[in-house]
Symmetry: C2
Subunit: 171 residues, 2 copies
């Protein structure tokens, strides 16, 4: 098990650098590591090291830090429609008042897989994953619209997922 609670505080190190909004910026090597893991999340550290010019241990330490910092996650992704979730929808939301507070409330809902603040005729866009129509109806009309500050919602029920990629950079 490697569940160590390593309290690695984000200091200014050679691998990353602070930008103006506080989120650490990645250097070229870490970017190359991420590209490798975007192609195959289980690729061995030694193979990654050979591709980016680092030793196996160095790659391992960088990956562990990226995971600890929450800047990257290595996960299995599927099309939810093939995994038993029959109803998915993108919901556009307009807000009066504190947008970020509404976003936090949405992020706390397990059915909301994806929450993003946007510019345009919606203030927020949320991807909702539900088991069936009743569940979706409940989430949208009861739970989301009940959040203080939500002015209106518009739903776009998914009919078919055509593409899903995680390989920016490799192009």
């Amino acid at each position: 098990m490697h569940s160590g609670l390593v309290a690695s505080r984000s200091a200014d190190q050679r691998g990353s650098r602070e930008s103006r909004n506080g989120s650490p910026q990645l250097d070229a090597v870490s970017l190359a590591i991420i590209e490798q893991l975007q192609e195959d999340g289980r690729r061995p550290y030694a193979a990654i090291g050979k591709a980016v010019g680092l030793s196996e241990a160095a790659v391992r330490q960088r990956v562990q830090k990226l995971l600890d910092q929450g800047m990257m996650q290595i996960v299995a992704v599927t099309d939810p429609l093939t995994v038993g979730f029959r109803r998915q929808a993108m919901v556009g939301i307009t807000v009066e008042g504190d947008v970020e507070a509404v976003a936090d409330a949405l992020a706390a809902m397990s059915e909301c897989e994806y929450v993003v603040m946007t510019a345009g005729s919606f203030d927020l866009m949320v991807e909702v994953v539900c088991e069936d129509d009743d569940h979706l109806l409940d989430v949208i009309s009861k739970r989301i619209r009940a959040i203080p500050g939500v002015r209106s919602t518009e739903s776009f029920v998914y009919l078919k997922l055509k593409k899903q990629t995680y390989m920016w950079g490799t192009r």
Copy 2:
């Protein structure tokens, strides 16, 4: 120790079964494996096997098949905004004529990370990842609007990504 599980699974021995639309459906064990890998894409096969009641080799074979069939991918995911892509947007598209043909054309564009057919006031929703404003402008006004059948587009530029999860099932 495995007799009970095997017995309860005897009716549905195969890992996958054809459904009405031709896409293979997953059984409970493969779902459990996916859940494990949604928590940690690098979790060892033996640990997964212990959690779902299968041997290490069986888990490995099932995972390999899920990957080969394209039903699951194990990848690193990040917030593109922290990885050098400054501009991201969700684009809603209305189509006249063959929606699927337009969707295929969009899926062929490397900047389109996510393409989904929807019901509602948009026929398609597309997530676009770009390096800067010029790039985004080029993609939306020149490339997307040039696709035959695209009637109109509406863009929602990302300001901040608040949540990104891949853990349906584990709730």
